[in-house]
Amino acid sequence: MADTARDPPPEQTDFQELEDGEDLFPEPAAAPEQSGPASLPAEDVSTNSNGPKQDSLFDDDPEDLFAEATEEVSLDSPERDVLLSDGPSPAITPITPPTSVITPRIGHAHDDMFTHSSFDEIEEEEGGDSFDIHIAVSDPEKVGDGMNAYMAYKVTTKTSLSVFKQGEFSVKRRFSDFLGLHSKLASKYLHVGYIVPPAPEKSIVGMTKVKVGKEDQSSNEFVEKRRSALERYLMRTVKHPVLLKDPDVLQFLESSELPRAVSTQALSSAGLLRMVNKAADAVNKMTIKMNESDAWFEEKQQQFENLDIQLRKLHASVESLVCHRKELSVNTALFAKSAAMLGNSEDHTALSRALSQLAEVEEKIDQLHQDQANADFYLFSELLGDYVRLITAVKGVFDHRMKTWQKWQDSQMLLQKKREAEAKLQFTNKPDKLQQAKDEIKELEGKVQQGERDFEQISKTIRKEVSRFEKERVKDFKSVIIKYLESLVQTQQQLIKYWEAFLPEAKAIS
């Protein structure tokens, strides 16, 4: 493992961090400090730029898994300060090499993982309907007052999986905890090709209303929307066989106290930096031209582009549907009132009665429309929103692959240059310099190899992830659409009931 001690050039490190960043802390000073091997107690607490630690003791998949699980942001990562202030998840300790980070929890996982010979097997065990974990987010409770107030949610986990200490347990979490969890997962896994489910979006407006204590329908709706989104987020995260075993995830679900994630504040400097970096990111993406040797990737990328467009379109249409359905409900209610007035005004008794009945039916129907609009929204529209964000994560993962490739290419070019320089040095009489050149070349050769391995690894991971994603998507959509259709059926059956009750009233007019 020693030979993997590398000095990632500070710029490169930062560059990597920037790309991965959901939350970045401007810590340019940190990088150069820790870049020398001497300051790294163990080089495997390497930066993200080193990729997964398959170069450590183990060299195949299960070990990857394990390595992923414990790989944490390194000392020279800008995240360090954040995480240290968050309180460590076991894997955070920068001192310990991954292989020895075996906490009681990981111990369980450790056993499981080493008895499996492949990632795929683990996947199969967790996947499908035998997947036994259910998370509920409930009981939103306002804590505190004024602008410092926040909503606390109860997170209840029910499971029979052995990676957990108990079968059923609850904790209280606030929104920034979820964001903190996501940022940790993103920093660990995105750059190696795992599709990390994005966290629900922040909403300054929505939250302000709640903080300020506006107890109206729109703020209640906001809280419910958020609660539901948080639940879906957690379920999606634990459905991922790798993420499920991550100590941060386990801590999030199980531990009663969680240090507050600081860098997720909406308008913090970190937030601003993030925005700037994302912009820089976009520019960088455009300049990488990769020689795609693998048609699969090109194809998939195109597919995801198309999927993105279609999903956004669909999302927009469904949002329009929700809006129109709500309008329909309002207009039906107005009509019902008007029909009631008309019935009162009608001097023919039986007709008057029938009109009043009509008004009542329409009033009930208005309620139906409202309920249906909610179903439209919570079932359908929110799912689509989730997937639009997920696709962004998928696209991000493809981008990371490109960057990994770029890095490998850069190392290769640098190696080439060094070789040329060395060749030149051969003719001069500078044995020290020559030796230095030879040392550098050796180091670079290792780097190039690592780069190639990283690239292959991320490509491999992405293939798996994409296939898992597609399966999940189909399942997800299917199950939601079935639920949605069932809600529509219910509405229609209610309509039948109402109109069948009205019919004799209409017939009774004489």
Binding site: L307, Q310, L311, K313, L314, S317, V318, S320, L321, H324, R325, E327, L328, N331, T332, L334, F335, S338, A339, M341, L342, N344, S345, E346, D347, H348, A350, L351, A354, L355, L358, F477, K478, I481, I482, L485, E486, L488, V489, Q492, Q493, L495, I496, W499, E500, F502, L503, A506, K507, I509, S510
Partner: protein, 386 residues
């Protein structure tokens, strides 16, 4: 660019008991739409000797109907009758505007989506078209089934005259100058409620009609809004189905059909409920117009009384004043008598029409909902079995 002609529309939706008298049967079997001008083919079958032929057809435009209506309104002899409300002008504005928007948005839609939207719009055009034919037809049938109005000379001309009526229309305008029509309509409420009513029947009718009119006007507007919202929902389903189609093969099929049913619910609702309310709103306005005319006649009579008293006091022009007073009284009595008849039968007609339409609407709602359940359940089963 647009449909064309339509054949008989089946049951007349908003009015009943029309076209039963075989001595004069009228219908509009055909109509043509060119740009916005609709040409109606008015078809008459009659056993009455007043007509030259037993069966004949003439082409008529909307303006001809208005001319006919106005001449009837302005005929003094008919002051005591409820003149059937004039059919509203054919209004293709809404579907036309939508078609325009669709054309603009064509680039953003898939071919399938565009075609579906276009289909829906064409159906909407057709529905507007059918509606306008229906409403013109009912107008004529109300006339033909009225004991007095069916004998009107202008009505006969309208049915029979095989030349263009536009010349007559212009002349008529000059002759009458839209006398009654130009009277301050808004003032009629004041006048109606202002007179001292001696007759209980009319007192009740007045109260009822004034109140009912404002209520039904409100209901009509709200029903229209409700129906429009329903159409919007149906349109959304078109877009959703098209996009789902692009995404995956199975899911879309139900949406493809659901939008159709939702759309149909919207248009059936339109026909039954909204049209019913709209029609009777106009009819009630016509009834109010009758009350107004009677009120004016009463006012005239009261004036003539005063004038007679004055004349007697001054002992000047008494016979004229007496005659005038007699005329006014006669007119007023005639109006009251026929008015009573008209208003009573109007109520009966209204109740029957409401009953028929409410029943039909409820039945359609049930039918659509049942279809929807079958459709949806089929899709659910299909999805679950995969």
């Amino acid at each position: 660019h647009l449909p064309h002609s339509t054949h008989t529309l089946g049951t007349r939706s908003v009015s009943v008991d029309l076209n039963n008298d075989a001595s004069l049967l009228i219908d509009i079997p055909d109509a043509l739409c060119e740009r916005d001008k609709v040409k109606f083919t008015v078809h008459t079958k009659t056993t009455l000797s007043a007509f030259q032929k037993p069966e004949f057809s003439v082409p008529r435009q909307h303006e001809d109907f208005i001319w006919l209506h106005d001449t009837l309104v302005e005929t003094e002899d008919y002051a005591g009758l409820i003149i059937p409300p004039a059919p509203p002008k054919p209004d293709f504005e809404s579907p036309r505007e939508k078609m325009h928007k669709l054309g603009e948005g064509e680039a953003t839609m898939t071919k399938e989506e565009y075609n579906k939207m276009k289909q829906e719009l064409e159906a909407e055009y057709l529905a507007v078209f059918k509606k306008t034919v229906q409403v013109h037809e009912i107008f004529l049938q109300r006339l033909s089934s009225h004991a007095i109005l069916s004998k009107d000379r202008n009505f006969q001309i309208f049915l029979e005259y095989d030349q263009d009526l536009s010349v007559r229309r212009k002349n008529a305008k000059e002759m009458f100058g839209g006398f009654f029509k130009n009277m301050v309509k808004t003032a009629d409420e004041v006048i109606i409620s202002g007179i001292k009513e001696v007759d209980d029947f009319f007192e009740q009718e007045k109260t009822f009609l004034l109140d009912y009119y404002s209520k039904i006007k409100d209901s009509t507007a709200k029903a229209e809004k409700m129906t429009r919202s329903h159409k919007n929902v149906a349109d959304d389903y078109i877009h959703i189905s098209a996009t789902l189609n692009t995404l995956s093969a199975d899911d879309s099929t139900f949406y493809l059909r659901l939008y159709k049913v939702e759309g149909r619910v919207a248009s059936d609702q339109e026909l039954k409920l909204t049209e019913l309310l709209r029609y009777y709103m106009r009819d009630i306005q016509a009834a109010k117009d009758l009350l107004y005319r009677r009120a004016r006649a009463l006012a005239d009579y009261e004036h003539s009384n005063k004038a007679l008293d004055k004349a007697r006091l001054k002992s000047k022009d008494v016979p004229q004043a007496e005659e005038h007073q007699q005329q006014c009284l006669q007119k007023f009595d005639k109006l009251s008598e026929s008015g009573k008849r008209e208003l009573t039968s109007f109520k009966g007609r209204r109740v029957v029409a409401f009953r028929k339409n409410l029943i039909e609407m409820a039945e359609l709602e049930i039918k659509h909902a049942k279809n929807n359940v079958t459709l949806l359940q089929g899709c659910i089963d299909l999805l679950k079995s995969n």
